[in-house]
């Protein structure tokens, strides 16, 4: 092949490379090993950071040790000032009704405002801690509220979702992750 022919074959090569890459991505998506929409949390696969949070009315505060008492828990960060949290709330209520234990951390929220929020929209939470200074959130590597972490019985973060849990996230991602914990 001369130079001209090599040059004219180059577009085919580029297209083939692109095609191969997309093929790998699609296979990964089918197997669940590749998720273009997921945002990883540095804490996934790690034990939850150490904390001891005061109670947020109407709930009871908790410590990181209490998260590791043998039963998996969905840990939800919320705030009364966050609009997507309002959107997410009915989904949390439904999850709680279906028997999933949900613990919450009120993030950077005055105590009375957070209490009002739960009073107005319903209480899906078993325990509620108050993180008014937002320190625990930093240790969790929180990217915003709402954000949810699935913590297994040993206190290790197994799954994480940055953003509101809606029907499709719950069905396609949270439920499989929850079932995987047994």
């Amino acid at each position: 092949m001369n130079r001209r022919q090599v040059l004219l074959t180059a577009p085919l090569g580029v297209a083939a490379l692109g095609g191969a890459a997309f093929w790998t991505m699609l296979r990964g998506m089918q197997r669940g090993t590749f998720d273009p929409r997921g945002v990883p949390s540095p804490i996934t696969g790690q034990p939850v950071p150490h904390f001891d949070l005061p109670a947020q009315a109407p709930g009871q505060g908790f410590t990181s040790a209490e998260l590791a008492q043998g039963k998996p828990v969905l840990l939800n960060f919320f705030a009364s000032w966050c609009v997507p949290c309002v959107q997410e709330h009915p989904a949390l209520l439904a999850l709680a009704k279906s028997g999933m234990p949900i613990w919450a951390i009120a993030y950077k929220d005055p105590e009375d405002k957070a209490a009002q929020f739960i009073q107005r929209h319903g209480d899906p939470y078993q325990r509620i801690g108050r993180d008014t200074p937002g320190r625990v959130a930093i240790d969790f590597g929180l990217s915003g509220v709402p954000e949810s972490f699935l913590v297994d019985g040993g206190g290790v973060v197994r799954w994480h979702w940055p953003g509101p849990l809606d029907a499709s996230v719950i069905q396609d991602r949270l439920q499989p992750a929850w079932r995987a914990l047994g």
Partner: protein, 653 residues
């Protein structure tokens, strides 16, 4: 019954498209006049069958046939009639039908308007179009059938995403798709040329009108989409560098390059191989853009039903179309003869520069869109590429395009000198500098430069016409005679170039936009975004399938009557979704833009904008499309190549 008829017509169209793909190309290869002559009939037959199928789909939507899964999932009996009709292509399955229908229309158009094409070339072009149709119709039948039944039928449908219930969006997809799919025709011409092993001036002349028509539609489609985002999403922006937006921008960039390189093929028989490659690339980008979005790979607000299994089919299809055409290119392109030679500084040189720059911009945009995916795949590193990257890379590449597009048209073919060309348009440069300096007194450096650039493009377009008719250098009568003799295409080009200037002015103005989020109590007056606003009251209103909260506000302007505006927030009853309806008042030189947000303790959160020059962004798009349309009306493009006119042989079947 009607859905079954539609399903049958779809299957029939698929079968006909296979015949359209195989028979004419085989006939052209074996020089079988009967098969060659069958091409137009097959193309029209496929168009007819698909037309019936599409009509059945629209019908099922209009009569609320919820036994059709697609209708049940995307429609609702309360939906206004217009959106029942447009809703038939507002979802994945329906949009594939629309896509295939437009492709079939292209085939029909080549059959109808291409009578003066040599028979074999026309047969090959129609055959290639048929092959693409076959792939997409198969995709529709096998993975995305819009006529799938649902039993028992639900009492009412789930309704369409309220964001899509908007007149702007009703016409955005057909326009955009017509642009995307229209590039199938230059693509088919390129493949036909590779099969024939010949590209010449007349080929360039045939390709150009098709490219021009698709380019106009794509320009309108993109402008319409951007305008919709501006007023419906209520974010106050017009371009977000979202993957789907980029997917429409890419074929536009390479299509613009193709439009210009086809001129060189037509006039000078140079750049042939490059033009063929551009034609393939443009259609490939159109295909990849529209279809990769549906595979769920690209992360975007324009989410269609994502399904990796569907994605595999799409990828296979893209592999056949793109891979096959590039393989053919690699094998056959070396045999194409090289064309005329030219000096670097010449009209051709300027057009090559245009091509290089436009393709560089396209490459940068591809890189920015794909980099997050590839970095995730290879480096396992999640990141996102946002507007700052695109602004920092696209603007430096766009500036030389703007500079050269004014100088190029006044340069002669073959060989030119830069200085005389510049001297001919000195006054355009003067206007640009003056506008830039005036803008500098009111705006920061970058927008001022952009305003100067916009003036340069608009004045330069005028200078091109003035130069062609030798205004003020010949007696006025002679100039007028030259003006009348000027081809319409010359005006078209000047208008399209000026249109880009108008858009650039709009974008520069938008960069000076002011916005403010405020909390206002009813009866209160506030200062925001440089204006005085008064919130009179908050009221409730009921629409056909939504409830609406309306803010009645006034903008108080000294010396002018108060301006009443009514931004609202709509809660759709069937889907628990709210949309914001921004209130926009435009003066032609600026938009006053108000969005109603949440309410808190009796007060409303409002986002108030003052967007100078904003309407010019879309006006420029319209002007560009009008320029392109004018060029299309040029007599030269309607007459085929005079030298190669062939009389079709009479064929008896």
């Amino acid at each position: 019954m009607i859905p079954e008829l539609g399903h049958f017509a779809l299957a029939l169209a698929c079968a006909l498209s296979f015949a359209q793909a195989i028979l004419p190309i085989y006939g052209a290869w074996r020089r079988d006049e009967r098969l060659i002559a069958a091409a137009p009939g097959l193309a029209c037959g496929q168009l007819l069958a698909l037309g019936v199928s599409a009509f059945c789909l629209v019908w099922s939507n209009v009569v609320d046939d919820f036994s059709v899964l697609n209708v049940a999932e995307n429609s609702n009996s309360l939906k206004p009639l217009l959106y029942k009709i447009t809703g038939s292509w507002g979802n994945h399955e329906g949009s594939i039908i629309l896509w295939a229908l437009i492709l079939a229309l292209c085939g029909g158009a080549v059959a109808g308007f291409g009578r003066n094409l040599p028979g074999a070339l026309r047969a090959r072009v129609i055959g290639v179009l048929g092959a693409s149709s076959a792939g997409f119709l198969l995709f529709s039948l096998l993975t995305s059938n819009p006529f799938t039944r649902l039993w028992p039928a639900p009492i009412d449908g789930r309704d369409m995403n309220p964001l899509l219930q908007d007149p702007g969006l009703a016409f955005h997809p057909p326009m955009l798709y017509a642009g995307y799919v229209g590039f199938a025709v230059p693509f088919a011409f390129a493949i036909a040329a590779l099969l024939e092993g010949r590209v010449d001036a007349s080929w360039g002349r045939w390709v150009r009108p098709w490219t021009l028509a698709s380019w106009c539609l794509l320009t309108c489609g993109i402008a319409l989409g951007s305008w919709w985002a501006y007023y419906e999403l209520g974010w106050g922006g017009f371009w977000f560098w979202d993957p789907v937006e980029n997917a429409s921008l890419l074929p536009w960039l390479t299509g613009t390059a193709l439009l210009h390189s086809a001129i060189v093929v037509e006039k000078r028989e140079a750049l042939k191989i490059w033009t063929v490659l551009l034609a393939i690339a443009t259609f490939s980008l159109s295909l990849s853009g529209t279809f990769l979005v549906r595979s769920g790979i690209l992360n975007s607000v324009h989410a269609f039903a994502n399904d990796p299994a569907r994605g595999v089919f799409i990828l296979g299809l893209l592999g056949v179309v793109i891979g096959g055409s590039l393989l053919l290119f690699a094998i056959r392109a070396p045999a194409l003869s090289a064309g005329g030679i030219f000096a670097p500084v010449s009209r051709e040189g300027a057009l090559v520069l245009n091509n290089v720059l436009l393709c560089s911009i396209a490459a940068v945009v591809i890189t920015g869109t794909m980099y997050p995916l590839f970095s995730d795949l290879i480096l396992h590193d999640k990141l996102s590429v946002g507007a700052p990257f695109f602004n920092a890379t696209v603007i430096p590449l766009a500036v030389p395009v703007f500079a050269a597009m004014t100088i190029g048209p006044v340069m002669p073919w073959k060989r030119a000198a830069l200085l005389p060309a510049l001297l001919r348009i000195w006054w355009a440069a003067l206007i640009a500098v003056m506008v830039g300096l005036i803008a500098l007194t009111k705006a920061p450096v970058l927008p001022a430069l952009a305003f100067g650039g916009a003036a340069w493009m608009i004045a330069g377009a005028a200078a091109d016409i003035v130069e062609r008719i030798r205004l003020f250098r010949l007696p006025a009568g002679n100039s007028m005679a030259r003006l009348r003799g000027l081809p319409i295409a010359a005006f078209g080009a000047a208008i399209a170039h000026a249109g880009l200037g108008v858009t650039v002015a709009g974008i520069a103005g938008m960069s000076l936009a002011r916005q403010q989020v405020v909390l206002v109590h009813p009866g209160e007056q506030i200062q925001a975004a440089g204006l005085t606003w008064a919130l009179d009251s908050l009221t409730d209103r009921t629409g056909p399938n939504y409830n609406e909260r309306v803010a009645n506000i006034r903008v108080i302007r000294p010396g002018e009557p108060d301006l009443e505006m009514h931004p609202s927030r709509r809660a759709f009853t069937t889907q628990t979704v709210t949309t914001t309806e921004a209130a926009i008042h435009t003066t032609g030189f600026a938009d006053i833009y108000a969005v109603l947000g949440e309410e808190r303790d009796g007060a409303a959160v409002m986002r108030l904008h003052y967007n100078p020059m904003a309407p010019w962004i879309w006006l420029g798009g319209l002007v560009m499309a009008i320029g392109g349309g004018l060029s299309l009306a040029d007599r030269r493009l309607r007459v085929g190549a005079p030298a190669r006119k062939t009389v079709p042989l009479g064929v008896s079947a």
